[in-house]
């Protein structure tokens, strides 16, 4: 899988490339719209990550150009502008996803993977982590064969964590997915729910599955502890 990153800020470009390579992808980086167009014409890319503010032309103009030349690869827009209008403009220019700076690398790689999945993800109806079992159809949760009752929010939180097991999910990502945008900034609600979830899922069981990753958030991890 080959990814093109169009970002004029050299340091950020470097971080993006390192992150993508860390995810096992081939990644090229360019710093201008002109160079980006050259690359898109010369190579086959499975994904383009595009900064909207480029020195030679607006990112949306470049995106329209790419689409007009019948390149159909998914495009993830990266921008410093978070208002609805610029998001709408990005999508109408042909973007597939949108990420606002500053973003967390965890979120970027999750979005990249989602975009690179050609077909809808076929996910197991039953997720298993050690002796934890989550049935996504019946929304039933069992630990060590014992049924655990969760509130709808607790279940959504657990499901979100388990679908991205092994990754640290930041509080704002969790708030955005499990609650909604209006809870922006109210990240303590995540801590409260994680506390409740731990009491139900982890208390009295081994290994502990829900982990706190300092500065990053929470993760569900069945792997051996560090």
């Amino acid at each position: 899988m080959r990814v093109l990153v169009v970002e004029d800020e050299a340091k950020l470009l470097d971080i993006l490339l390192r992150c993508l390579k860390g995810e096992g992808l081939l990644a090229d980086g360019v710093g201008s719209a002109e160079a980006a167009l050259e690359h898109v014409k010369s190579f086959h890319y499975d994904l383009v990550i595009l900064d909207l503010q480029l020195p030679d032309s607006p990112g949306t103009a470049l995106l329209r150009r790419i689409r007009s030349e019948r390149h159909a690869m998914p495009v993830l827009i990266l921008t410093a502008r978070s208002d609805i209008d610029s998001k709408a403009e990005g999508f109408s220019a042909g973007a597939d996803d949108y990420l606002t700076k500053p973003f967390s690398l965890a979120e970027l790689s999750m979005r990249v993977h989602a975009l690179l999945r050609r077909a809808p993800a076929i996910q197991e109806a039953i997720l298993r982590f050690a002796n934890l079992e989550i049935n996504r159809l019946t929304r039933q949760v069992k630990r060590g064969g014992k049924r655990i009752d969760l509130s709808p929010k607790e279940y959504s939180l657990l499901e979100y964590l388990s679908l991205h097991a092994g990754r640290a999910l930041s509080r704002s990502m969790i708030v955005e997915r499990v609650w909604d945008q209006s809870f922006e900034g109210l990240t303590n609600i995540v801590d409260v729910y994680i506390g409740h979830l731990r009491r139900k899922i982890d208390e009295g069981y081994e290994p502990k599955l829900i982990r706190t990753v300092r500065g990053l958030g929470y993760s569900l991890d069945a792997g051996e502890a560090e």
Binding site: K101, F103, V192
Partner: protein, 455 residues
């Protein structure tokens, strides 16, 4: 209220002046009248005395003839006059005594003095001794009662005393109407000034096209508004630009830190990295909020939104936040009140509710109680969030809606200091208001009011 208006004071001042002037004028008129009538009577009686003498001199010894001629020529009774001709105490002729004159005083006055002007009650009496060619000394007394003049004076005083208040009332009313008319442009400017908000460059004071200082004032105020608007927009653009410019460096910092945090380190370094990341996240949060604030400010009334029930939104928000309250053993009472349809951005208004309830939870001690009520008033939807927490001191009440304003200087408090500023700008963008009532130590009530949807 009215006693402080310039109209009231001007009309009052004007009436007091008019009263003083009117009273002075009336007083002066009455005095002048009195003086003038007296002078006239005195002059007349003196002159008449001479005429009487010329008429009487021929008939001093013919009493009947004398009486007839005097009555014919001077008609004393008909004209409130008194005429007496005597010689050494012997009366040659005496007319009837006019009404209101003491007869005894007239009796007593006989023979006294030589040539004099007396006043006996209402009677002005001129006495004059004449000497005939034969050497007889004849006393001619010519009097005139001022009863009639007094009557005129009385009715003059009366009409002035009654007329003046009527005049005053008319003048006050006229003055008030006149003032209102001349102040009308100012009142219009006041109304417009009250309604002016920022980010509405079209909204300026109506000009009084009077061509005078009033128009100049309007022009000057409008130019001041232009400058204020420009300054406000500049400040707003600054925070938007600053938030924008910070994003990329912050993205780099976060990215590098995440790389570092993913590697194996000593526990100390790991903890330090975690701390830095936490702070970077807080900064990101703040940047996002600042950007949102400036967006809200420039959004002012531009977006048509969907209609929804504020009550349902409040109920939903409270359900989602109940656990936060439970955690602190605070009772989040069930929603009170009924539905209230409003139009707007549901997510943003929900954010206001989240902020208010979160604040209430934060500033209410364990075991406290929070109630939320939604009401629809005449044309407003009202939502109140009441807690029995620590409250807000009066000096902070206005400022807590300011950006980065904190009641306590303790920076350890969670939150960015932007929550209520955001709540306020969202309410304002929906044409609504947010205020707080509070008793320190007893609790606070935050009240938002939004236009009721009429659709």
């Amino acid at each position: 209220m009215i006693s402080r208006s310039p109209t009231f004071w001007l009309v009052t001042l004007y009436c007091v002046l008019l009263l003083v002037l009117g009273a002075g004028f009336a007083w002066f008129t009455v005095l002048t009248f009195e003086h003038y009538t007296r002078e006239t009577i005195i002059r007349e009686t003196a002159a008449r005395s001479g005429e009487i003498w010329v008429t009487a001199i021929e008939r001093l010894d013919d009493r009947t003839g004398l009486a007839r001629v005097i009555e014919q020529r001077f008609a004393p009774e008909a004209l409130d006059r008194f005429i007496r001709i005597s010689e050494g105490g012997r009366i040659l002729y005496q007319s009837a005594i006019p009404a209101g004159v003491d007869a005894r005083a007239l009796q007593g006055s006989r023979g006294k003095g030589d040539a004099a002007q007396l006043r006996l009650g209402s009677l002005f009496l001129n006495r004059h001794f004449y000497v005939t060619p034969q050497g007889r000394r004849i006393l001619v007394e010519s009097g005139q009662s001022d009863v009639f003049a007094q009557g005129v004076q009385k009715s003059l005083t009366q009409s002035l005393v009654f007329g003046l208040p009527v005049l005053l009332i008319l003048a006050a009313f006229g003055g008030y109407v006149l003032m209102r008319r001349s102040l009308h442009p100012i009142e219009r400017m006041i109304d417009a000034a009250e309604a002016i908000s920022f980010n509405d460059p079209g909204n300026r004071l109506p000009l009084a096209e009077t061509g005078d200082r009033l128009e100049t004032l309007g022009l000057a105020l409008n130019r001041m508004l232009d400058r204020l608007d420009a300054a406000y927009q500049h400040a707003n653009r600054f925070s938007a630009d600053a938030a924008h410019e910070i994003r990329t460096p912050l993205a780099i910092i976060r990215g590098e830190l995440e790389f570092l945090a993913a590697q194996r380190h000593s526990p100390e370094l790991h903890a330090a990295l975690g701390n830095i990341l936490d702070e970077a996240n807080r900064l990101s949060d703040m940047v996002e909020k600042l950007a949102m604030l400036s967006r809200m400010d420039s959004l002012w009334g531009k977006h048509a939104h969907a209609e929804f029930d504020l009550g349902a939104l409040a109920g939903e928000t409270m359900d989602q936040m109940r656990l936060l309250a439970d955690e602190k053993h605070i009772t989040l009472a069930p929603l009170q009140g009924g539905p209230a349809p409003v139009a707007g951005d549901r997510n943003r208004l929900k954010q206001v509710l989240v902020n208010l309830v979160d604040n209430a939870i934060k500033y209410t001690p364990e075991g406290g109680r929070i109630t939320v009520e939604v009401k629809s008033l005449a044309n407003r939807a009202q939502l109140t969030v009441t807690d029995n927490g620590i409250g807000v001191a009066p000096e902070h009440r206005e400022k807590i809606f300011d950006r980065f304003y904190r009641v306590s200087t303790d920076r350890g408090e969670t939150g960015s200091g932007l929550g209520l500023a955001i709540a306020k700008s969202i309410c304002n963008a929906h044409g609504g208001t947010i205020v707080v009532d509070s008793t320190p130590g007893a609790g606070s009530t935050f009240r938002i009011e939004l236009p009721l949807s009429t659709a």
